[in-house]
Symmetry: D3
Subunit: 190 residues, 6 copies
């Protein structure tokens, strides 16, 4: 798995949640995770969470830190577990940065001060891969629900956000490598 931090403001519209988006745009072939910052505005046609569609939920943020993960040759359920696990990695790293136990995870969502939603996340399937989008609000203004933002509410500087993005991607890569090796060293049981 390779990582790529995209150093430019890039709006997230749902288009990036597509097979080979990282490969086509950044030339990175194979399992990969990319991160970037930018506004988030997903139209109903691009929403992949049908629960949101049924509820006419709105996915909107003025500025988010986005992660796009693509893993090939994986089924959806395993992808969903990876998605939850990546949310844990984000939670943990944020608590490290904030030097406290202040971020909670409920399913694939992160919260600050119990009720302020920090993140959106989804995992879906293409014919040859699973794709994950996780976004953390940077600014919480004008969010459609009670929200927290990395800068507006947690007080992180842009430098800290970039560093957070890089270290979370690095953790994911290390953990993915470690997970694959862990399957190669155990005696089965009978």
């Amino acid at each position: 798995m390779k990582t790529h931090y995209i150093n430019e403001n890039l709006p997230y519209t749902g288009e990036a949640l597509a097979p080979h988006w990282i490969y086509k745009n950044f030339g990175i072939l194979g399992d990969a995770v990319a991160a970037f910052q930018g506004p988030c505005d997903v139209s109903i046609e691009r929403m992949v969470d049908l629960e949101d569609v049924l509820n006419s939920d709105c996915i909107y943020s003025e500025k988010m830190l986005h992660f796009i993960i693509e893993i090939f040759n994986m089924d959806l359920r395993e992808g969903v577990i990876m998605q939850r696990h990546f949310s844990s990695i984000l939670q943990h790293r944020l608590n490290d940065v904030l030097e406290g136990h202040v971020i909670e995870r409920r399913g694939d969502d992160l919260f600050f001060q119990q009720t302020k939603k920090l993140s959106v996340s989804i995992c879906t399937k293409s014919v040859t891969s699973i794709l994950i989008h996780t976004g953390l609000n940077v600014e919480s203004a004008n969010a459609p629900v009670e929200a927290a933002g990395l800068t507006s509410d947690l007080g992180l500087s842009n430098e800290q956000i970039v560093s957070l993005a890089r270290s979370c991607m690095r953790s994911l890569v290390d953990e993915w490598k470690d997970i694959k090796l862990a399957t190669c060293k155990v005696r089965p049981v009978f």
Copy 2:
């Protein structure tokens, strides 16, 4: 997935890391997680982590809180991701109880004060299921490595440990149910 807290001191020798151990001993059929407290002493013949065997590592604790998880119809890699994710659940619940960001996770291991190992964990495969054992030291005395214990070092009472076990099992069950539903509500992408 069902849960079972076993209210008696039960030594963990590695025998419990076997297919249908929960079903045969407690009559709980299907995916399940069980927890109990007791000493931990796994002989080299019962070790399933071949890295430990190659290193002649010793798996020993005077008292641990043990979790045994069995999930059927799952491949090993997906099981390993679940194992890591369960370690995250334990980490975050402990930080909740301790009201601070004091437990770290590295892979499937939890640490207190950077270097004091709190846990052992393994995930392996039977022909029809995956099996996970995760143990948290209750007492750290006489551990073969620098260790921390829930009672000896973190100061948890037995009541708190039982409560921790129950809530972590409950979180796992909720999350497993949620993960399965999450696979049923997403539009694929092309």
Copy 3:
């Protein structure tokens, strides 16, 4: 797996054989089976059985009892076996109701009096699920092949048809639950 009997006349055009059709229309999330009555008229563009397309077969009935089944995280071959098995469930329930051994199954088709076709059925795949449509003629008039109908030929009242639909859905749900448990209680063999 959940069941839903739709209490209104609903034409079957092939549109219902789509991922999340039950979820989007009736809010039922996860594995599910729905039943309804209505005419059946599938245009060539919506036919999923390419053998029918190649033969320019016509899928038409003035009134049918329709079943739509969606099971997630299942491959096509397993779905086809479930489809055949559901045809068996229908066959046997009909024989129960008719108090005789009068319905035959050949593959996924049911016949009355050897040659009168009672059913149409297909199983196909979406990216995240398998989908089954099975329809039983209620009226056989104007069918494109020699046909039998639950009311026109077998003499069932509408009440009996609704009751048949409900009990067959219930049987499927019970059997699906039982099948999953059956995978959790067997010793492998070597």
Copy 4:
């Protein structure tokens, strides 16, 4: 899939429920179903249904018609669905022979006159295949539960039993071939 009727009295002890038993004993390579008659007496060590083991159930019959099915490269859940479906095939063929709707199926079990158990059945996994044993009582005397036998209760001659065995095996082979082809001719849905 190939079929083999073994023309000699052969006791079933559970030993035949093993990978490659048909290949090793009859030289038939690949997916196969074999049938034979003989007493049934499975010791507790050979029982693969752990529910029977936990209940200390006894699997005994003075004479049974046995079927052993092995299908390679199949997972357990799909094997269990096939097992249920084979029970349906047996039920249907028996009702044909008996010219009435007199045999019921509940899960993998067949019953005569509601309560008289006609069959035992199990599906399990080896590392490379699934294995099914289904046995129909020929004689019901001394059975451990209320039972029916093909000869003692249903009045079938030995010739009829052999013919039943052959036609059920043939049906299974035809259906298996048909199931595989059915996966090759459907347009997926989106």
Copy 5:
């Protein structure tokens, strides 16, 4: 797996690399390999190798011997291994015909005299199958890269090319059958 040699000039545009193309056009149901000769000109919209798309590579030949292979119920990685293996079969058969060790394989590509590209090949996935296209230049004139052709450079007559096509398809079919049987006759190891 069935084979079909199409005795007419047929341009390859990428359209044939589609699920059920062989079934829809030639009525051959199930795993199959078809071969034909004709020009090759794949527009950028039909290219499935995204590396070619990114590089704006051109897939063009005045005349090629084309093979289309479809195998159902197979994942992409296994399909790619089959594709490589089919390239080996082609290489081997060509060396037989040319009575020398003159064709080299590098990945899925065949070369003559180290640098002259003889082939193009791709393996991709549909929802229910894997699809392989492998084309061998018959004429090398006007190729976009340094190329060799079966007739223009290797001196094969049309009769030899047809014979090559038939024998390579036959080898693939035999090997596929043999591979499946090989999975049914091995003791697992522990």
Copy 6:
């Protein structure tokens, strides 16, 4: 995938065809291929090809070049295709070295001068991996069938054999890496 050439005479008895043999003996974790030279004598109890067992075939050679391959998280059928493909790699490398088209492959076997068997090969499954053994006779004396040896019949020096082993292992590693990347760069087809 990693490679290891073992620089000492090591008899092959079948014991090496076991999960984690490379890891336990040489500390190489994960997918791997190892090669060594030594006599080959597999007792009937260790034979995994049941066809050989049924035929009471003898697997014996005074000196062979052995390859042991282990790939984790792979099913048996895919492993068998890899095994065949590795035989192709050996065949072509030998033809390179011998500067002629003198080695033939039939299934997983290599032949010299049509009838002289150069190799033995098997692919089997453990619970967590597939395992391949392929051996090439170095000396053909006292072989149980008409045989050829790399030194005795093909005239290769020990240096050439070691070089052949290393380059074939390297080819396998490169190809395996290339195969995995090939699954990450194709557009699916519909």
